[in-house]
């Protein structure tokens, strides 16, 4: 029979024999590296949470390196991107989205200023060479990622300068040419990238020829041809398509004479918005945008919203652009071959046979506006020359994530048909380069990031202090010219402070909550044993599965999963 000691002393360490872990019956905590919603929403595939974590630790250069692991052009996207990351940001529901866009721009500019080196090593002299058609954001991103992956890249650009639509279609008020050139030139200077200018597909080179000469071919031609536009078959003789007008203006600085009068822009996109603002600034008496989509408001569903960067819309309205939404041009009133007026009709929703609502003309709402010029701006499509047999209608429409349209042949960016942002083209360039590298190495296609996304209700916001979003200066309307950048930048201190607002959704903050609060000391603090990048491991011998750590984890990094026997 066991005898008890005086004062019931016990052998040390015996409480460790009580494996409280065997009480666990329904759930166990696990570390799950969820995707932050910004990352999930980023067309370029940036992991914003990862680079904000570097900034939080006070390492801007590491943050930039982490950023350019996905997107080599942060100085560009930090200016032109519609930043769906911010729309998705969980902090929206606390006190305003993180200023991801503005911090990205600061990092991009800082990299140029400080001369931080892109994290690439020169490819081997005999590394396979990938041909890339088009030096727009998609082609440049593809070239950069090829080099990152040990390949060489040879770019063929039809125009005399690289940049694609960044140069031809985005006004310097949004993207100053100094910022564009600085980032582009650093990228083009990387070892392993060759740029051939004035090489037009179909005239100087052919897809077949490239496929014979190069290890792989990446097609990033963009969309050069305006979509056909007419009003019930009628087209003015002196028609100027929006994108062409924009390009001409950027090249020559001049607009047709009719642009001095009352102008109607028909369409709804960033190009339409840019051309509206340029024409207004160039002296048009009035500029009116007619769009089938809706302006932001309680009656507009998200999928019905006009597809422009919100701040561009706001700035356009500040500058006096009139917008008539949920409307279309129903008739052109011509005097000879010249437009003198348009008939506008409102659109209403009607449920079609398939049950889906679509907008149809609302008879009886017609009205006539006197105009001097109509500018269609309804989108662009791939110029079909030189792509015979590869296009599926007006676009490539690849049936896979990587943009593969034939063995060793990929399509990138706007030419894929459903892209529409610089960030998407950059993302395409990266994914295609990764697929090329895998294909050339005889490997399977790379696997996409399948991590689950951390929703706002997965966070414990009690552990976050309130902090207001960094304010960003904007040029007053009166001071806006054709050249001066409208949106201001932020400084180092502001960028670092903004980084502290990142909630680190789904990632370990090393806050010690789990370690402190575990009633069974079943959380062990160790960076050596924690192989998942966190600072802790669970000791399931003692974890009772109470769920306290899951509840108190601020970021949702700890989640309870059903206990399997």
């Amino acid at each position: 029979m066991t005898q008890i000691t005086r004062g019931t002393w016990a052998e040390a360490g015996t409480s460790l024999d009580f494996k409280t872990g065997n009480w666990r019956s329904t759930q166990r905590p696990v570390h799950i590296h969820a995707k932050a919603p910004c990352h999930g929403a980023c067309p370029a595939g940036e992991d914003q949470q990862a680079w904000f974590a570097e900034l939080q630790m006070g390492h801007p250069e590491s943050a930039w390196r982490s950023l350019v692991a996905a997107n080599p052009l942060p100085g560009v996207t930090g200016r032109v991107c519609p930043h769906p990351c911010e729309t998705a940001c969980n902090r929206v529901q606390l006190d305003g989205a993180l200023a991801i866009h503005n911090v990205e721009r600061w990092l991009g500019d800082e990299a140029v200023l400080q001369g931080w080196d892109y994290p690439v090593t020169p490819p081997a002299k005999d590394a396979p060479v990938v041909a890339i058609v088009g030096a727009g954001p998609g082609g440049l991103s593809a070239a950069y990622h090829c080099v990152r992956l040990g390949l060489r890249a040879e770019i063929f650009e039809a125009l005399p300068e690289a940049g694609g639509l960044l140069r031809s279609a985005i006004p310097p008020t949004r993207l100053p040419r100094t910022a564009l050139d600085a980032e582009l030139n650093r990228l083009l200077d990387l070892p392993g990238i060759t740029l051939n200018l004035r090489q037009r597909l179909g005239r100087d080179i052919s897809v077949e020829g490239l496929r014979e000469r190069f290890a792989a071919v990446l097609l990033s031609p963009g969309c050069e041809s305006p979509k056909p536009w007419s009003v019930k078959g009628a087209v003015p003789a002196d028609l100027h398509e929006g994108l062409a007008l924009l390009r001409d203006f950027m090249d020559h600085g001049a607009l047709p004479d009719a642009a001095k009068g009352d102008v109607i822009v028909h369409g709804g996109g960033n190009t339409a918005m840019d051309i509206c603002r340029i024409m207004k600034r160039a002296g048009a008496k009035s500029v009116t945008l007619i769009t089938a989509s809706g302006l932001p408001g309680p009656d507009t569903a998200p999928d019905d919203l006009i597809n422009v960067v919100p701040r561009e819309l706001e700035e356009a309205q500040e500058e006096g652009i009139e917008i008539i939404d949920h409307a279309t041009v129903s008739r052109l009133i011509m005097k000879g071959s010249r437009v003198t007026g348009v008939e506008i009709i409102a659109l209403r929703k009607e449920r079609g046979k398939d049950g889906r609502k679509r907008r149809v003309e609302f008879e009886g709402t017609e009205r006539v506006i006197s105009v001097d010029m109509v500018v269609p701006c309804v989108g662009e499509q791939v110029a079909p020359e030189a792509f015979e047999g590869l296009l599926n209608g007006a676009y490539f429409w690849p049936d896979n994530l990587y943009g593969r349209i034939a063995p060793r042949t990929f399509s990138i960016g706007d030419a894929r048909g459903n892209r529409g942002t610089v960030a998407a083209a950059i993302g395409d360039g990266r994914i295609a380069a990764e697929a090329v590298a895998a294909e050339l190495a005889g490997e399977e296609d790379p696997v996409a990031d399948a991590r689950p996304e951390m929703a706002f209700d997965g966070l414990n916001t009690a552990y976050y202090a309130g902090a207001v979003r960094v304010p960003v200066a904007k040029l007053p309307v009166a001071e806006r010219t054709f050249d001066a950048e409208i949106e201001g930048g932020i400084g180092r201190a502001e960028a670092l402070a903004e980084a502290q607002r990142c909630l680190s959704c789904g990632n370990c903050l090393a806050c010690d909550n789990c370690w402190t609060m575990c009633p069974d000391n079943a959380v062990i603090k160790t960076t050596e044993l924690a192989m998942d990048g966190s600072h802790y491991v669970f000791d399931y011998d003692y974890c009772k599965g109470c769920g306290l750590c899951t509840e108190e984890c601020p970021t949702g990094f700890i989640q309870s999963v059903p206990e399997t026997s």
Binding site: I4, T5, R6, G7, T8, W9, A10, E11, A12, G13, T14, S15
Partner: protein, 391 residues
């Protein structure tokens, strides 16, 4: 050397003579002067002790528990509400059989708030398993404090030395303070077989399941029983060194032929002796039993002490509302096994610092002469001060 000292200063010096390794205490009236004087001795370099200033009595008790468990001679002191705040730890100290010493400067327990003397605080922790020794004078308190350290380490039980607040703690008395040599000869260095040892790690305070808890309590109770002999033995040993004993478990004083006895603890014993001196001729000389060891309760010695008495007055300095006296109830229980047990008259006196004058001796003896004398009363309560319905 004889010296006129305030009770609290005398206790501080007595504690210093025992060379404790750790003292932790939180000030509370009327204990404050004890701790103040100890901290002064430490600050002046006259006492080499780790003095831990804590933020509450709970911490004070916890610190001395930890210190003693780590093998240190440890001391604390408190009173009243402080004792109540310590009470959880006091049960642990005793239940874990950790030897250490505390002074309880007896004070009433609120509410209503009272800072004055009675013994309801030590009575409230009566069942915590501590040895409780009551002192009638500051000399006894000094001697008992020194003895308490030896009792604790020879029994593996904590010892509370109870002394009446203000009546003793704040009173000047000529004290014969033993010398350091005498104390060193009497009190061996602290040794605790259960002390924690990093070379041989053990844990204390572990969970004890129902298969063993009853045995733990049995052994604790048995240890208290064995401590009776130790208390007597150590008092005698102290007398050998200093020439002065404190009265073992209890002392009987008065004529052998007396038919009335008074049983009491603490300073009221002295008051009764003075009362007998002045009013003995008038109301008769009672036999006075000074109960020194309250826990363990010296049942056998008490039965012998009342031999030949017809009536016994038990003075309580506390009350158990709904029952009556605490000490009186226990005395009745102990005497009930006697064939010719004296009648027990149990009176609560001097609650919340009410002065107990020498005339109380006369009043008590006169009262029990009446045939319908109450067996229990709050003796000195003036019912005129209460609304009629509350009397």
């Amino acid at each position: 050397m004889r010296e006129a000292l305030e009770g609290s200063l005398a206790i501080a010096r007595a504690v210093a003579l025992t060379k404790p390794d750790v003292v932790a205490a939180y000030p509370i009236t009327p204990q404050t002067h004890i701790v103040e004087n100890i901290s002064k001795l430490v600050a002046d370099g006259d006492m080499h002790t780790e003095f831990v200033s804590v933020e509450s009595e709970f911490s004070a008790a916890s610190v001395v528990l930890g210190a003693a468990a780590a093998g240190a001679r440890a001391y604390t002191a408190s009173a009243s509400q402080g004792i109540l705040l310590m009470s959880e730890v006091m049960f642990n100290i005793a239940g874990l059989r950790v030897p250490l010493v505390m002074t309880i400067a007896n004070r009433a327990v609120g509410g209503p708030l009272s800072i004055w003397n009675d013994q309801s605080d030590s009575m409230a922790v009566r069942d915590s398993g501590w040895i409780q020794i009551h002192c009638i004078s500051n000399q006894e308190a000094v001697d008992t404090t020194i003895q308490a350290f030896r009792i604790a380490q020879e029994t593996d039980l904590p010892v509370a030395v109870c002394m009446d607040g203000f009546v003793l703690t704040h009173t000047m008395e000529v004290i014969d303070m033993p010398s350091q040599e005498e104390v060193d000869a009497f009190l061996p260095p602290f040794e605790f077989a259960g002390a924690l040892d990093t070379a041989n790690p053990r844990s204390m305070g572990t969970l004890v399941d129902p298969n063993y808890f009853a045995e733990v309590r049995h052994s604790h109770h048995a240890a208290m029983g064995k401590a009776l002999a130790k208390i007597e033995e150590i008092d005698a040993a102290y007398a050998e060194v200093t020439g002065r004993a404190s009265g073992g478990l209890l002392t009987v004083d008065g004529p052998k032929k007396a038919k009335v006895g008074i049983i009491a603890m603490g300073s009221v014993v002295g008051t009764m002796m003075a009362g007998r001196e002045h009013y003995g001729g008038e109301v008769g000389e009672a036999r006075i039993v000074k109960l020194r060891s309250y826990r363990p309760f010296p049942a056998k010695a008490l039965r012998a002490a009342v031999k030949g008495l017809d009536k016994v007055i038990v003075i309580d300095r506390a009350i158990s509302p709904g029952m009556g006296g605490v000490l009186g109830t226990e005395v009745s229980a102990v005497l009930s096994t006697l064939d010719k047990a004296p009648k027990v008259y149990n009176y609560a006196l001097g609650l919340g610092g009410r002065d107990i004058p020498e005339t109380m001796y006369r009043d008590l003896l006169t009262t029990i002469e009446a045939k319908d004398a109450p067996r229990f009363a709050v003796f000195d309560a003036d019912l005129e001060k209460l609304p009629p319905e509350d009397r």
